[in-house]
Symmetry: C2
Subunit: 243 residues, 2 copies
Amino acid sequence: MNDTITTMHAHRSIRQYGPDPIPREHIEIAVRAGQSAATSSAVQAYTAIHVTDPDKLSELAELAGPQEKVEKCGAFFVVCADTRRHRLMCERANLPYESTLERFLVGVIDATLFAQNMTLALESMGYGTCYIGGLRNDLERVDRILDLPEGIYPLYGLCAGTKAQHPIARPRLPIESILHTNGYPSDEDTMNAVGSYDETYAQYLEDRGAPRASWSEAMVSKLSRRSREELADYFTRKGASLT
Amino acid sequence: MNDTITTMHAHRSIRQYGPDPIPREHIEIAVRAGQSAATSSAVQAYTAIHVTDPDKLSELAELAGPQEKVEKCGAFFVVCADTRRHRLMCERANLPYESTLERFLVGVIDATLFAQNMTLALESMGYGTCYIGGLRNDLERVDRILDLPEGIYPLYGLCAGTKAQHPIARPRLPIESILHTNGYPSDEDTMNAVGSYDETYAQYLEDRGAPRASWSEAMVSKLSRRSREELADYFTRKGASLT
């Protein structure tokens, strides 16, 4: 087990941070590490917006939950898929930028390869991190707060900072649920693996002092409800094509 | 610069591999490292299919380009967003699985956080890697080759293996194109940063012995053409909702 893999296993989402901001130098190291991840045909379809304005942070913290950590962490970023540069270059060349689902997907994938390297780089420097999917509660408002132009698609936030908590690790599905050979397992095998994990997960919640629930119960409660139904309209208005 | 960040900067997409397969033990280490990445509300919406069957590898290599490395690397994986488990758990509970764009996006993001950790773990063990977006040339065929059930969305491939080449690093956009504060820069600033990078990129191609082209030229040539227009139909047939 080398240092890189040890750093990965040490990952915990950190929800309480000390008051110190992250020095700009460390932020730049993390962003450059993010940029060194693979990118589809060199498109580099991503951008990170470091939010430092207290009013903007306060609004983002509110719409994301509220989640106090958005304004209380050492540095908060909004990670976006970025097709703005591509559009401007096409415009300059008098050619259309052809917006397709493929290009939207490449943006989401590219941005997330970038973000995971950036996150792991921050963790390797000793910082805690937490992705903030809660920004998708109201992307229209995120857009207004940051005054985003066409072609920029905000995806999620990223909190980072000095850790003020040391939570236990949340257990993951058994590897036989994730790694398959030449195809996907039968429904019976899939659900058998879930069954063994359900108990592990319930025990984890109990150990953490949270109400006991199996993974299935937690997932069904979440996934049987509709959520964030305005995403497609928002991304389409920003120039994405999803069909 | 610690080992983790050094490993990130050492990334090159590797397109030629030695003949040795990757030992199962190393594959499992990489998959577990992938699983230790963050996951949205513990949904773990991803799956990796290790393709070892020579006929399947040959078909995948063909549809992806052709790209010989798909069958000649040490291990080839198809990375998928996985909502199958979620659907089966909802079915067992007699509740609907509510398919939304949010859930599709979470799958793409979760799978990519997983894949980037897995990739970096492989690289930290000395292997070369290359993502294969070319699978999206024909996802219907990928689907048939792997006999994928509803709710599994193949996204891209991942080659890994011993390196049989040592390419120079492809330069990235200047950090001022990627890291912004409180908002997105003006179009003028955006295009000025592109201008300086265009020259760097053309020089890189020349140093690599490829035809000289600026980044803008390469991007415009690619992005002004439509591509992979059947993706939305395919994902929708597999149970995704994109609207």
